[in-house]
């Protein structure tokens, strides 16, 4: 039962990532594209965890944690650049 659920979850997350890519390409304003990147990295975290469950390895959780941290830092840096015009004053 678990492999079928893993297949369905992988498909749903892939479709969600494709929709994020659509918003990233089509977004009329810059914050829309930034929101698409933010959602894309959260989906990448979910996909890496599903892949770790499928492969049965523990090693991919560190990769998911690093993706989450780098995504948060990049979102904060880009949002501050849009707000203040500079990242670090």
């Amino acid at each position: 039962m678990i492999p079928l659920a893993l297949d369905i979850a992988t498909g749903a997350i892939t479709v969600a990532m494709l929709l994020c890519g659509l918003r990233l390409l089509r977004g009329p304003e810059i914050p829309d594209r930034l929101l698409a990147i933010d959602t894309l990295y959260v989906n990448v975290v979910a996909l890496v965890i599903v892949l770790g469950m499928r492969l049965g390895t523990e090693l991919l959780f560190e990769a998911a944690l690093i993706v989450a941290m780098l995504g948060f830092v990049s979102t904060v840096a880009l949002a501050r650049y849009l707000t203040r015009g500079d990242v670090i004053e």
Partner: protein
Amino acid sequence: MDTVNSAVEIIVSIMLLVGAFFTLVGAIGMVRFRDFFQRLHAPTKATTLGVGGILIASMIHGVAHGRYGIHELLITMFLFITAPVSANLLSKAALHLKVPSGAGHPDVARRTTTGGDSPRKKAKPVRSKGKPAA
């Protein structure tokens, strides 16, 4: 033992399906809503909940296979702390750039966002006080 294993399988499968469903719903909402401030709602709630469901599934799966769910707990805490912060920063950036909104922009928002004294229609990074003249 066998019934315990099948119960764990059913719970893990249900949590995986719930998580995948909410992730997909967040992405669909981000594509289909009309303006930016509506689009901000869908990923910051639904996608965070979906990733939480998938992490709970992975945690139960790992505990059933004889290891502890510390990594999943770390990722869950990190995502649940940082998702509202990044959404707040994104909405502040959108208010500062005067992104078109169906509800209009209040004057209070213009006063609380810092450094935005020149109203701009196009979304461009404002470099009003960027580099000193030297």
